[in-house]
Amino acid sequence: MLLVPCPNCGPRNASDMSYGGEPHSRPDPNTASPEQWRTYLYLRDNESGWITEKWYCSSGCRKHFKLERHTLTGELRNPPLPGNKTGGHK
């Protein structure tokens, strides 16, 4: 299980958190075209590589925070365990 570094609580099991996925900025609801609004709703970069993603520390501090994670290797930008590069089955 991923050990997620919460900026408030320190490293916590991913099961203590809720995953929020890619952040995406919300267009102005009064001027957005259907295409812009639905881009916000549905379209995703879904990159294989480094991404920035949202987490919610639901059982710990209950704060939202962002994390940089590599979706292929599982690496974090600032891993709580030193020396924890992981390869994985790609």
């Binding site: 609580c9 099991n13 099961s15 203590d16 059982s59 710990g60 501090c61 704060k63």
Partner: protein
Amino acid sequence: MADPPAFESPVVTIGRAAGAGSITLTDESATTKASVRAADGTPAASALGLTFGCAEARGDVLVARTRPDEWMVFGTSQAVAAHLGGLDLSGYASTVDITHSRLMFRITGLAAAKAMAKVCSIDFSDPMMPSGACVGASVAKVGCDIIRHDIDDVPSYRILCDRSFGQYLFDALVDAKAEFG
């Protein structure tokens, strides 16, 4: 009408070996509990102090900073009222009485951490969770706040959760501690 009725605990402890053996489990749900919410820099936050994740006894109340912007205060209703009475809520702070929404158990004994390790993934070793530490975590799949506050150097944890889970969680804790006699 008559006197205000007595507090009804959500758990039946009788016949469940709660106190047997080297670990005791007690129901402290009737304790008055209050939550204070205040952002950094507000007078209330400065007055309540503490580092996030820490707790301490202050006179006859126990105060825990359970979230970066939340404190919990426990004690008798008078003591809690006295402690919060003078709090300056300006700059935006608020209080909610959570006596009825959160129940509280206390698990005490030399092997209490071992029993907790069967139901909770937090590291209960002394350096990571010393007396005077508190943490929000899942216990037997129920979201809880855990506050360690030892009695005479014997490890003791207070566990708070939503009242409705009371009996379920109590039984899970009785089962977890059974192994340790």
